[in-house]
Protein backbone atom coordinates (compact mmCIF):
# COMPACT_ATOMS: atom_id res chain seq x y z
CA UNK A 1 0.00 0.00 0.00
CA UNK A 2 1.17 3.54 -0.62
CA UNK A 3 2.37 5.68 2.21
CA UNK A 4 2.83 9.37 2.79
CA UNK A 5 5.57 11.13 4.68
CA UNK A 6 4.98 14.72 5.76
CA UNK A 7 8.10 16.75 6.43
CA UNK A 8 7.40 19.58 8.85
CA UNK A 9 9.89 22.34 9.62
CA UNK A 10 9.15 24.33 12.76
CA UNK A 11 10.67 27.10 14.85
CA UNK A 12 12.11 24.55 17.28
CA UNK A 13 12.87 21.43 15.32
CA UNK A 14 11.76 19.14 12.52
CA UNK A 15 8.98 16.58 12.63
CA UNK A 16 8.20 13.72 10.28
CA UNK A 17 4.61 12.50 10.13
CA UNK A 18 4.00 9.16 8.45
CA UNK A 19 0.86 7.24 7.55
CA UNK A 20 -0.35 4.66 5.09
CA UNK A 21 -2.54 5.58 2.16
CA UNK A 22 -5.63 5.88 4.32
CA UNK A 23 -3.98 8.88 6.00
CA UNK A 24 -5.84 8.32 9.25
CA UNK A 25 -3.33 6.94 11.74
CA UNK A 26 -0.17 8.95 11.95
CA UNK A 27 3.23 8.23 13.47
CA UNK A 28 5.04 11.33 14.66
CA UNK A 29 8.82 11.39 14.71
CA UNK A 30 10.74 14.25 16.26
CA UNK A 31 11.75 16.75 17.18
CA UNK A 32 14.80 16.29 15.02
CA UNK A 33 17.38 19.03 15.60
CA UNK A 34 15.45 20.25 18.66
CA UNK A 35 15.76 23.91 19.44
CA UNK A 36 16.78 24.96 15.93
CA UNK A 37 14.64 26.68 13.31
CA UNK A 38 14.06 24.24 10.48
CA UNK A 39 13.16 26.49 7.61
CA UNK A 40 12.66 23.73 5.09
CA UNK A 41 12.99 19.99 4.45
CA UNK A 42 12.52 18.31 1.12
CA UNK A 43 13.21 14.89 -0.34
CA UNK A 44 14.58 13.93 -3.70
CA UNK A 45 11.89 12.87 -6.18
CA UNK A 46 14.36 10.31 -7.51
CA UNK A 47 15.29 8.79 -4.15
CA UNK A 48 12.70 9.74 -1.53
CA UNK A 49 14.89 8.52 1.31
CA UNK A 50 17.37 11.25 0.39
CA UNK A 51 16.16 14.25 2.35
CA UNK A 52 17.79 17.63 2.89
CA UNK A 53 17.03 20.05 5.73
CA UNK A 54 17.88 23.67 6.47
CA UNK A 55 18.73 24.00 10.17
CA UNK A 56 19.38 27.53 11.34
CA UNK A 57 19.60 29.68 14.46
CA UNK A 58 20.43 33.26 15.32
CA UNK A 59 23.16 32.05 17.67
CA UNK A 60 24.95 29.45 15.58
CA UNK A 61 24.04 30.29 11.98
CA UNK A 62 23.36 27.76 9.27
CA UNK A 63 23.66 23.98 9.18
CA UNK A 64 22.53 21.77 6.34
CA UNK A 65 21.46 18.27 7.31
CA UNK A 66 21.26 15.30 4.98
CA UNK A 67 19.51 11.97 5.41
CA UNK A 68 19.81 8.81 3.33
CA UNK A 69 17.19 6.78 5.17
CA UNK A 70 14.05 8.84 5.02
CA UNK A 71 14.83 10.99 8.02
CA UNK A 72 15.68 8.30 10.55
CA UNK A 73 19.27 9.42 10.79
CA UNK A 74 20.98 12.60 9.70
CA UNK A 75 24.48 13.91 9.04
CA UNK A 76 25.62 17.53 8.84
CA UNK A 77 26.61 18.60 5.32
CA UNK A 78 28.26 21.68 3.88
CA UNK A 79 27.17 25.05 5.26
CA UNK A 80 29.35 27.54 3.37
CA UNK A 81 27.35 29.84 1.14
CA UNK A 82 29.87 32.32 -0.26
CA UNK A 83 28.63 34.86 -2.77
CA UNK A 84 30.62 34.76 -5.96
CA UNK A 85 32.92 37.68 -6.64
CA UNK A 86 32.37 41.02 -4.95
CA UNK A 87 28.71 40.90 -3.90
CA UNK A 88 28.06 44.65 -4.07
CA UNK A 89 24.91 46.08 -2.55
CA UNK A 90 21.16 45.85 -2.69
CA UNK A 91 18.71 48.31 -1.18
CA UNK A 92 18.00 48.27 2.52
CA UNK A 93 14.53 48.91 4.00
CA UNK A 94 15.18 52.65 3.87
CA UNK A 95 16.43 52.59 0.29
CA UNK A 96 20.10 53.02 1.20
CA UNK A 97 22.70 50.65 -0.28
CA UNK A 98 23.31 47.60 1.90
CA UNK A 99 25.90 44.86 1.40
CA UNK A 100 24.78 41.33 0.55
CA UNK A 101 25.05 39.21 3.67
CA UNK A 102 24.27 35.57 4.05
CA UNK A 103 21.73 34.91 6.77
CA UNK A 104 20.01 31.56 6.19
CA UNK A 105 18.74 28.99 3.73
CA UNK A 106 15.01 29.41 3.15
CA UNK A 107 14.30 26.65 0.65
CA UNK A 108 15.92 23.46 -0.61
CA UNK A 109 14.90 22.01 -3.97
CA UNK A 110 16.37 18.64 -4.91
CA UNK A 111 17.00 18.03 -8.59
CA UNK A 112 14.37 16.15 -10.57
CA UNK A 113 16.95 13.74 -11.92
CA UNK A 114 19.87 13.40 -9.52
CA UNK A 115 19.50 12.77 -5.77
CA UNK A 116 22.91 14.33 -5.11
CA UNK A 117 22.05 17.63 -6.76
CA UNK A 118 20.07 20.17 -4.79
CA UNK A 119 19.37 23.89 -5.08
CA UNK A 120 19.21 26.31 -2.16
CA UNK A 121 17.38 29.62 -1.99
CA UNK A 122 18.98 31.89 0.57
CA UNK A 123 18.66 35.20 2.38
CA UNK A 124 20.06 37.67 1.25
CA UNK A 125 18.49 36.48 -1.93
CA UNK A 126 20.65 34.27 -4.10
CA UNK A 127 20.54 30.81 -5.63
CA UNK A 128 23.07 28.09 -4.88
CA UNK A 129 23.54 24.59 -6.20
CA UNK A 130 25.29 21.54 -4.82
CA UNK A 131 26.17 18.57 -7.00
CA UNK A 132 27.76 16.49 -4.26
CA UNK A 133 24.92 15.82 -1.89
CA UNK A 134 25.15 19.21 -0.13
CA UNK A 135 28.81 18.85 0.79
CA UNK A 136 29.68 22.02 -1.09
CA UNK A 137 27.71 24.87 -2.61
CA UNK A 138 28.27 27.16 -5.56
CA UNK A 139 26.31 30.28 -6.38
CA UNK A 140 24.43 30.59 -9.65
CA UNK A 141 25.55 34.18 -9.76
CA UNK A 142 23.78 35.06 -12.99
CA UNK A 143 20.62 35.67 -10.97
CA UNK A 144 22.08 38.22 -8.59
CA UNK A 145 24.23 39.80 -11.29
CA UNK A 146 21.80 40.08 -14.20
CA UNK A 147 21.31 43.79 -13.55
CA UNK A 148 18.34 44.41 -11.30
CA UNK A 149 20.00 43.15 -8.11
CA UNK A 150 20.98 46.59 -6.75
CA UNK A 151 17.29 47.53 -6.79
CA UNK A 152 16.13 44.60 -4.71
CA UNK A 153 14.78 45.34 -1.25
CA UNK A 154 13.89 43.04 1.65
CA UNK A 155 10.35 42.38 2.76
CA UNK A 156 9.49 42.32 6.45
CA UNK A 157 10.82 38.78 6.79
CA UNK A 158 14.09 39.52 5.06
CA UNK A 159 15.23 39.45 1.43
CA UNK A 160 14.68 35.77 0.85
CA UNK A 161 14.68 33.50 -2.17
CA UNK A 162 11.85 31.26 -1.05
CA UNK A 163 10.53 29.53 -4.17
CA UNK A 164 12.43 27.34 -6.62
CA UNK A 165 10.51 25.54 -9.36
CA UNK A 166 12.20 23.13 -11.76
CA UNK A 167 10.50 22.58 -15.12
CA UNK A 168 10.19 18.81 -15.66
CA UNK A 169 9.78 19.31 -19.43
CA UNK A 170 12.88 21.47 -19.84
CA UNK A 171 15.99 20.95 -17.71
CA UNK A 172 17.27 24.38 -18.68
CA UNK A 173 14.25 26.22 -17.30
CA UNK A 174 13.77 27.21 -13.66
CA UNK A 175 11.64 29.74 -11.86
CA UNK A 176 12.47 31.44 -8.59
CA UNK A 177 10.75 34.04 -6.46
CA UNK A 178 12.11 36.56 -3.99
CA UNK A 179 10.52 38.74 -1.36
CA UNK A 180 10.54 41.53 -2.23
CA UNK A 181 12.09 41.52 -5.68
CA UNK A 182 9.63 39.39 -7.63
CA UNK A 183 9.74 36.34 -9.87
CA UNK A 184 12.53 35.42 -12.27
CA UNK A 185 13.12 32.77 -14.89
CA UNK A 186 16.15 31.14 -16.49
CA UNK A 187 16.11 29.28 -19.79
CA UNK A 188 19.76 28.25 -19.80
CA UNK A 189 20.18 26.27 -16.64
CA UNK A 190 20.78 29.26 -14.38
CA UNK A 191 23.45 31.10 -16.35
CA UNK A 192 21.20 34.05 -17.18
CA UNK A 193 17.92 35.26 -15.73
CA UNK A 194 15.17 37.71 -16.47
CA UNK A 195 12.47 39.26 -14.29
CA UNK A 196 9.00 37.89 -15.05
CA UNK A 197 6.77 40.40 -13.29
CA UNK A 198 4.79 41.96 -16.12
CA UNK A 199 1.19 42.33 -15.01
CA UNK A 200 1.96 42.45 -11.29
CA UNK A 201 0.69 45.58 -9.54
CA UNK A 202 2.03 46.57 -6.11
CA UNK A 203 0.44 49.66 -4.61
CA UNK A 204 3.22 50.09 -2.06
CA UNK A 205 5.73 50.99 -4.78
CA UNK A 206 6.07 54.44 -6.38
CA UNK A 207 6.02 52.67 -9.75
CA UNK A 208 3.29 50.12 -9.14
CA UNK A 209 4.15 48.02 -12.18
CA UNK A 210 7.94 48.20 -11.94
CA UNK A 211 10.11 45.50 -13.43
CA UNK A 212 11.20 44.38 -9.94
CA UNK A 213 10.26 45.10 -6.34
CA UNK A 214 7.08 43.04 -6.05
CA UNK A 215 6.70 40.99 -2.90
CA UNK A 216 5.93 37.54 -4.25
CA UNK A 217 5.04 35.19 -1.42
CA UNK A 218 4.87 31.89 -3.27
CA UNK A 219 4.54 30.40 -6.75
CA UNK A 220 3.12 27.00 -7.65
CA UNK A 221 3.14 24.96 -10.83
CA UNK A 222 1.63 21.63 -11.82
CA UNK A 223 4.30 19.39 -13.39
CA UNK A 224 1.99 18.45 -16.25
CA UNK A 225 1.50 22.14 -17.13
CA UNK A 226 4.96 23.65 -16.80
CA UNK A 227 4.07 26.89 -18.53
CA UNK A 228 1.18 27.68 -16.17
CA UNK A 229 2.09 29.36 -12.92
CA UNK A 230 0.03 30.48 -9.95
CA UNK A 231 1.23 33.16 -7.57
CA UNK A 232 0.21 34.40 -4.14
CA UNK A 233 1.55 37.92 -3.85
CA UNK A 234 1.51 40.53 -1.13
CA UNK A 235 -2.08 41.16 -2.11
CA UNK A 236 -3.45 39.48 -5.25
CA UNK A 237 -3.56 35.93 -6.49
CA UNK A 238 -2.12 35.81 -9.98
CA UNK A 239 -1.91 33.40 -12.89
CA UNK A 240 0.40 33.15 -15.90
CA UNK A 241 -0.22 30.97 -18.93
CA UNK A 242 3.02 31.84 -20.67
CA UNK A 243 5.76 30.80 -18.26
CA UNK A 244 5.62 34.08 -16.41
CA UNK A 245 5.94 36.43 -19.38
CA UNK A 246 2.62 37.95 -18.33
CA UNK A 247 0.33 37.68 -15.33
CA UNK A 248 -3.40 38.17 -14.74
CA UNK A 249 -5.17 38.61 -11.44
CA UNK A 250 -7.45 35.71 -10.48
CA UNK A 251 -8.42 36.78 -6.94
CA UNK A 252 -12.05 36.80 -7.94
CA UNK A 253 -14.43 36.33 -5.01
CA UNK A 254 -11.84 35.66 -2.30
CA UNK A 255 -12.78 37.42 0.96
CA UNK A 256 -9.27 38.90 0.96
CA UNK A 257 -6.48 38.23 -1.51
CA UNK A 258 -3.61 38.66 0.93
CA UNK A 259 -1.92 35.43 1.98
CA UNK A 260 1.24 33.37 1.75
CA UNK A 261 0.62 29.85 0.48
CA UNK A 262 -0.62 28.60 -2.85
CA UNK A 263 -0.60 25.09 -4.24
CA UNK A 264 -2.03 22.98 -7.06
CA UNK A 265 -4.03 19.75 -6.88
CA UNK A 266 -1.86 16.77 -7.83
CA UNK A 267 -4.21 15.55 -10.58
CA UNK A 268 -6.25 18.62 -11.51
CA UNK A 269 -3.98 21.35 -12.87
CA UNK A 270 -6.79 23.93 -12.72
CA UNK A 271 -7.57 23.27 -9.04
CA UNK A 272 -5.65 25.57 -6.73
CA UNK A 273 -5.62 26.29 -3.00
CA UNK A 274 -4.90 29.41 -0.96
CA UNK A 275 -5.39 30.43 2.69
CA UNK A 276 -6.68 34.03 2.77
CA UNK A 277 -5.13 36.17 5.48
CA UNK A 278 -6.88 39.35 6.60
CA UNK A 279 -4.26 41.92 5.55
CA UNK A 280 -0.63 42.88 5.47
CA UNK A 281 -1.12 44.56 8.84
CA UNK A 282 -3.08 41.70 10.39
CA UNK A 283 -1.51 38.33 9.70
CA UNK A 284 -4.40 36.12 10.71
CA UNK A 285 -7.49 34.78 8.96
CA UNK A 286 -10.52 37.04 8.51
CA UNK A 287 -13.18 36.84 11.24
CA UNK A 288 -11.18 34.36 13.28
CA UNK A 289 -12.09 31.61 10.80
CA UNK A 290 -9.40 29.38 9.35
CA UNK A 291 -10.51 28.71 5.79
CA UNK A 292 -8.73 27.17 2.85
CA UNK A 293 -10.14 28.41 -0.44
CA UNK A 294 -10.21 26.20 -3.51
CA UNK A 295 -10.74 27.15 -7.11
CA UNK A 296 -11.50 24.45 -9.63
CA UNK A 297 -11.27 26.92 -12.49
CA UNK A 298 -7.71 28.08 -12.13
CA UNK A 299 -8.77 31.11 -10.14
CA UNK A 300 -11.52 33.75 -10.07
CA UNK A 301 -14.18 31.38 -8.70
CA UNK A 302 -13.33 30.26 -5.19
CA UNK A 303 -15.12 28.18 -2.57
CA UNK A 304 -14.36 28.08 1.16
CA UNK A 305 -13.26 24.77 2.67
CA UNK A 306 -14.04 24.72 6.38
CA UNK A 307 -15.06 21.21 7.43
CA UNK A 308 -12.77 20.26 10.29
CA UNK A 309 -11.06 23.66 10.51
CA UNK A 310 -11.65 26.07 13.42
CA UNK A 311 -14.31 28.65 12.57
CA UNK A 312 -14.01 30.86 15.59
CA UNK A 313 -11.22 32.41 17.70
CA UNK A 314 -8.53 31.26 15.29
CA UNK A 315 -5.73 33.77 14.74
CA UNK A 316 -2.89 31.71 13.35
CA UNK A 317 -0.97 32.36 10.15
CA UNK A 318 0.11 29.95 7.43
CA UNK A 319 3.59 30.76 6.13
CA UNK A 320 4.60 30.64 2.49
CA UNK A 321 6.22 27.19 2.36
CA UNK A 322 3.73 25.54 4.71
CA UNK A 323 1.31 23.91 2.27
CA UNK A 324 1.78 20.80 0.15
CA UNK A 325 -0.15 18.09 -1.69
CA UNK A 326 0.38 14.35 -2.05
CA UNK A 327 -0.19 12.41 -5.26
CA UNK A 328 -2.35 9.58 -4.03
CA UNK A 329 -5.45 8.86 -6.17
CA UNK A 330 -7.56 11.05 -3.92
CA UNK A 331 -5.23 13.98 -3.58
CA UNK A 332 -4.27 14.88 -0.05
CA UNK A 333 -3.70 18.49 0.95
CA UNK A 334 -1.70 19.55 3.98
CA UNK A 335 -0.81 22.79 5.70
CA UNK A 336 0.85 23.90 8.92
CA UNK A 337 0.14 26.97 11.04
CA UNK A 338 2.11 29.34 13.20
CA UNK A 339 0.07 27.94 16.08
CA UNK A 340 1.71 24.55 15.67
CA UNK A 341 -1.11 22.63 13.99
CA UNK A 342 -0.67 20.52 10.88
CA UNK A 343 -3.98 19.91 9.12
CA UNK A 344 -4.55 17.23 6.49
CA UNK A 345 -7.30 16.49 4.04
CA UNK A 346 -7.45 13.14 2.27
CA UNK A 347 -10.18 14.23 -0.13
CA UNK A 348 -8.86 17.24 -1.98
CA UNK A 349 -9.87 19.61 0.81
CA UNK A 350 -13.50 18.64 1.41
CA UNK A 351 -12.73 17.50 4.96
CA UNK A 352 -9.87 18.36 7.28
CA UNK A 353 -8.45 17.02 10.51
CA UNK A 354 -5.38 17.92 12.51
CA UNK A 355 -2.53 15.43 12.39
CA UNK A 356 -0.86 17.23 15.29
CA UNK A 357 -1.98 20.28 17.28
CA UNK A 358 0.82 21.41 19.52
CA UNK A 359 4.05 21.62 17.55
CA UNK A 360 6.17 24.75 17.64
CA UNK A 361 5.17 27.29 14.99
CA UNK A 362 5.29 25.63 11.59
CA UNK A 363 7.63 27.14 9.01
CA UNK A 364 7.27 24.61 6.18
CA UNK A 365 5.41 21.52 5.04
CA UNK A 366 6.37 19.10 2.27
CA UNK A 367 4.81 15.75 1.46
CA UNK A 368 6.30 12.64 -0.07
CA UNK A 369 4.10 9.97 -1.65
CA UNK A 370 5.79 6.61 -1.23
CA UNK A 371 4.89 3.40 -3.01
Amino acid sequence: MSKVRVLVGTKKGAFILAADGKRQNWEVSGPHFPGWEIYHMKGSPVDPDRIYASQTSGWFGQVIQSSRDGGQTWAPAGNKFNYQGVPGTHQWYDGTPHPWEFKRVWHLEPSLGDPETVYAGIEDAALFRSSDGASSWEELAGLREHGTGPKWQPGAGGMCLHTIILDPSNPERMYIAISAAGAFRTDDGGLSWKPINKGLVSDFMPDKTAEVGHCVHHVAMHPARPGVLFMQKHWDVMRSDDAGDSWQEVSGNLPTDFGFVIDVHAHEPETIYVVPIKSDSLHFPPDGKLRVYRSRTGGNEWEPLTNGLPQSDCYVNVLRDAMAVDSLDECGVYFGTTGGQVYASSDSGDHWAPIVRDLPGVLSVEVQTLS
Binding site: G58, W59, F60, G61, V63, P76, N79
Partner: protein, 97 residues
Protein backbone atom coordinates in the same frame (compact mmCIF):
# COMPACT_ATOMS: atom_id res chain seq x y z
CA UNK B 1 42.96 22.29 26.70
CA UNK B 2 39.43 22.10 27.99
CA UNK B 3 36.61 23.80 26.14
CA UNK B 4 33.00 23.98 27.19
CA UNK B 5 30.66 24.45 24.25
CA UNK B 6 27.00 25.45 24.25
CA UNK B 7 24.48 22.62 24.45
CA UNK B 8 23.38 22.86 20.81
CA UNK B 9 26.92 22.69 19.47
CA UNK B 10 27.74 19.68 21.65
CA UNK B 11 24.67 17.95 20.25
CA UNK B 12 25.52 18.94 16.67
CA UNK B 13 29.04 17.55 16.99
CA UNK B 14 28.00 14.64 19.22
CA UNK B 15 30.36 15.72 21.99
CA UNK B 16 29.69 14.26 25.41
CA UNK B 17 30.71 16.60 28.24
CA UNK B 18 33.79 18.81 28.12
CA UNK B 19 35.82 18.96 24.97
CA UNK B 20 39.57 18.36 25.22
CA UNK B 21 41.62 19.65 22.30
CA UNK B 22 45.34 19.50 21.65
CA UNK B 23 46.74 22.90 20.74
CA UNK B 24 50.30 23.94 20.20
CA UNK B 25 51.71 27.25 21.40
CA UNK B 26 50.92 30.09 21.14
CA UNK B 27 47.73 29.34 23.04
CA UNK B 28 45.03 31.61 21.65
CA UNK B 29 41.30 31.47 21.07
CA UNK B 30 41.95 31.32 17.33
CA UNK B 31 44.13 28.24 17.65
CA UNK B 32 41.61 26.52 19.86
CA UNK B 33 38.83 27.22 17.35
CA UNK B 34 41.07 26.02 14.52
CA UNK B 35 41.59 22.75 16.39
CA UNK B 36 37.90 22.35 17.17
CA UNK B 37 36.85 22.96 13.57
CA UNK B 38 39.49 20.63 12.19
CA UNK B 39 38.23 17.84 14.41
CA UNK B 40 34.54 18.70 14.05
CA UNK B 41 33.99 20.21 10.58
CA UNK B 42 30.27 20.57 11.20
CA UNK B 43 31.11 23.32 13.71
CA UNK B 44 32.66 25.52 11.03
CA UNK B 45 30.61 28.69 10.79
CA UNK B 46 28.77 28.07 14.06
CA UNK B 47 31.17 29.82 16.47
CA UNK B 48 32.85 32.25 14.07
CA UNK B 49 31.59 33.58 10.77
CA UNK B 50 32.81 31.69 7.71
CA UNK B 51 33.86 34.80 5.86
CA UNK B 52 35.12 37.20 8.54
CA UNK B 53 36.38 34.47 10.91
CA UNK B 54 35.13 36.67 13.73
CA UNK B 55 33.06 35.53 16.71
CA UNK B 56 29.37 35.25 15.94
CA UNK B 57 27.54 38.12 17.67
CA UNK B 58 25.37 35.96 19.95
CA UNK B 59 28.33 34.04 21.38
CA UNK B 60 30.95 35.08 23.91
CA UNK B 61 34.25 33.68 25.16
CA UNK B 62 35.03 33.48 28.87
CA UNK B 63 37.90 32.09 30.90
CA UNK B 64 39.04 32.45 34.49
CA UNK B 65 36.04 34.66 35.25
CA UNK B 66 36.96 37.15 32.51
CA UNK B 67 35.10 38.05 29.34
CA UNK B 68 37.56 37.58 26.46
CA UNK B 69 34.99 38.33 23.76
CA UNK B 70 36.35 41.73 22.79
CA UNK B 71 40.00 40.72 22.92
CA UNK B 72 41.85 39.78 19.77
CA UNK B 73 41.45 36.13 18.82
CA UNK B 74 45.23 36.05 18.80
CA UNK B 75 45.69 37.37 22.35
CA UNK B 76 47.44 34.90 24.68
CA UNK B 77 45.06 32.93 26.86
CA UNK B 78 45.51 32.83 30.64
CA UNK B 79 48.11 30.35 31.89
CA UNK B 80 45.44 28.32 33.66
CA UNK B 81 43.65 27.68 30.38
CA UNK B 82 46.86 26.74 28.62
CA UNK B 83 47.67 24.16 31.29
CA UNK B 84 44.16 22.73 31.30
CA UNK B 85 43.36 23.87 34.79
CA UNK B 86 40.59 26.15 33.60
CA UNK B 87 38.34 25.76 30.54
CA UNK B 88 37.62 28.18 27.75
CA UNK B 89 33.88 28.72 27.79
CA UNK B 90 31.93 29.45 24.62
CA UNK B 91 28.62 30.79 25.83
CA UNK B 92 25.49 31.61 23.88
CA UNK B 93 23.51 34.73 24.67
CA UNK B 94 20.54 34.32 26.97
CA UNK B 95 18.18 35.75 24.40
CA UNK B 96 15.15 34.86 22.38
CA UNK B 97 12.23 32.63 23.22
Amino acid sequence: MRVILPYHLRILAKIDGDLIVAVEAPFTVRRILDAIEARYPMLQGTIRDHTTQQRRPFLRFFACGEDLSHDSLDAPLPEAVATGGEPLLVIGAIAGG
